[in-house]
Amino acid sequence: MTWYDSFLQQLVDGLVLGSFYALVALGYTMVFGVIKLLNFAHGDLYMTGAFAGFGGLSLVSGFLGAGWIGIFVAMLLAMIAVGCLGVVIERVAYHPMLGAPRLSILITALAVSLVLQNAALALTGGQYTAFSTDLGLGGFNLGNLFLSHNQIVLVATAAVLMIALELFVSRTLYGRAMRAVSIDKDMCRMMGINVSAVIAVTFFIGSGLAAAAGTMAGAYYGSIWYFMGFLIGLKAFTAAVIGGIGSITGAMLGGLILGLLESFGTHIPFIGSEWKDVFTFSILILVLVFKPTGLLGKSEVERM
């Protein structure tokens, strides 16, 4: 393989990884936008989504098979189920805390994350669950570059979901209300916008996207476990920060950038794959320190 082929292969791997990051980062950024809360439980919603997708697939695989069609249906079921879970979490845990000190809200979010994680741990006994599908290993060869069907479907699905979200936010009433709520909640209340409903919709969509990513990741990698949301939660947050937290386009961009950075970064000499996560967190810290508003984020009023 020439360096050029390996470059292309890295690019493809980076795009696949970046699609997962972007989908999860979207939920972070949307929730942060409307209630200014860092939803620590978001990575665990991704994990829950993977398990929900697994359950969904075992329900529908009898008559739809465990190919992409069955997986799509399972993914939709998982998105609805986890979306509802997200709404319940917001109502039960975050809503009562909105007037509380920031520290309390953050710890509450952490507690929700731990509850989801440890509930999954208790249910699975900490074992990996095989996410078996009928997905083949077929694909195209473009020169020395191999593109699997699964990679193409996965990136395409992520792209469709993101375009749909972008349209929802920019074209629909709820989408516009969402943007308005992220700017000034009190003003929205005075204008007669049902702020609670907008927040609920935001949680539903954000959690649903995480579930979509979880199901696809389960199907793509073939196994799921209770702790799978932890690292991706951190990384998706990194992606959201790179793009500029609160910015939807930024989250997509940040996800892709992070995916590519990881894919290429691990091939830089001296940074082996065992340093991949250290590399990512270093990026997170550097971005937060030097450009906390990210690429597309709005800066807050300058204060010293």
Partner: protein
């Protein structure tokens, strides 16, 4: 408009307080009566002496198993009092506190086991390393929003753990073993009872240091900055330096725990310093009551002794803790330790 309303409403001319307000309200419930009972310095000293006496006698009347568990609880007291300075006093959420614990433990492990440095001579290096780590991670990030700080500390905790796992000098994934036990003036500290007493001393020192810091200029500055950063700055308090001080002091407490943890066990591995470890320490602090020293100590004991009592529940134990944390935050965010003032 608002500004003029007080002069038009006669009610506000009356003072808003009554004579009785100047007296402490009479204690109502059991806890307030207990507080009142130990209000006088003499009685408080008696209480302290009684607790120390119990700590000294315990290993002679209990099994070795109990002694080991209590030693672990005392280690957690040190760690929790350290994290309490960061979270409880300064109000900074640190999700990677185990990293400082790791820095202390690994510095000792590497210096004593691989370079043959005497344990006591290695301690200053371990403390320095932790303080340095505190400055490196805290310096640039303490200016950030509090939720960013939380995630940065989480990332930092993971970086430390991954680094320990990937480096040769730290023994990779299997960690370091055969860390030599220390001696002090000819006393070879090796039995579980020996280590129990070492941790009693550490816990008592951590308690005294916490209490004294809380009653000092720096302790007050932490509260000012936590309550209102702008007002604190306007009073001449350097917000970043104050937070950094909390962070570094917390790091040093963590390192002290790590230093003695490593020689007590004789072996350390990256998994001793995982995110779960950080969460457990945080849970103890929140459970007992952030910023309340006796509460935090109680929290440390609950977090260590609880799992022993819940042994039969297997993996459900952690779920029970997680639900407990959530319930505390929702219904009693100030922790289970009762308030002094009602």
């Amino acid at each position: 408009m608002d500004r003029h309303s007080p002069s038009t409403t006669p009610d506000t001319h009356k003072p808003d307080f009554h004579e009785s307000d100047f007296h402490e309200p009479r204690p109502r419930n059991l806890f307030q009566r207990l507080y009142a009972a130990f209000e006088s310095p003499g009685r408080r000293r008696a209480l302290h002496l009684a607790i120390i006496a119990i700590l000294i006698v315990t290993p002679w009347i209990s099994s070795q198993y109990t002694t080991v568990i209590l030693t672990n609880a005392l280690l957690y007291v040190v760690l929790c009092l350290g994290l309490n300075i960061v979270v409880g006093y300064a109000g900074l959420l640190d999700l990677g506190y185990a990293a400082f614990f790791a820095v202390g433990a690994y510095t000792i492990g590497i210096l004593t086991q691989q370079f043959g440095v005497n344990f006591w001579a290695a301690i200053p290096f371990a403390l320095l390393a932790a303080a340095l780590a505190g400055v490196i991670i805290g310096g640039p990030t303490l200016r950030l929003r509090s939720d960013y700080l939380a995630i940065v500390t989480l990332g930092f905790g993971e970086i430390v753990r991954f680094t320990a796992r990937n480096l040769e000098i730290t023994g990779g994934a299997s960690g370091l073993s055969h860390i030599p036990e220390p001696s002090l003036f000819g006393w070879h500290i090796d039995s579980s009872i020996d280590f129990y007493y070492v941790f009693v001393v550490l816990a008592v020192l951590a308690y005294i240091a916490s209490q004294r810091l809380f009653d000092s200029r720096l302790g007050r500055a932490w509260l000012y900055v936590r309550h209102d950063e702008d007002a604190a700055e306007a009073m001449g308090i350097n917000r970043v330096a104050t937070k950094l001080a909390a962070y570094v002091i917390g790091a040093i407490f963590g390192a002290i725990g790590g230093i003695f943890f490593s020689v007590n066990l004789g072996a350390i591995s990256p998994e001793s310093f995982s995110f779960q470890q950080s969460v457990l320490i945080l849970l103890a602090v929140v459970l007992g009551g952030m910023g309340k020293i006796p509460g935090v100590i109680l929290g440390a004991f609950i977090v260590v002794l609880g799992p022993e009592l819940l042994r039969d529940f297997g993996t459900l134990r952690l779920l029970i803790f997680a639900v407990l944390l959530l319930l505390i935050m929702l219904f009693r965010p100030s922790g289970i330790w009762p308030e002094k003032r009602s």
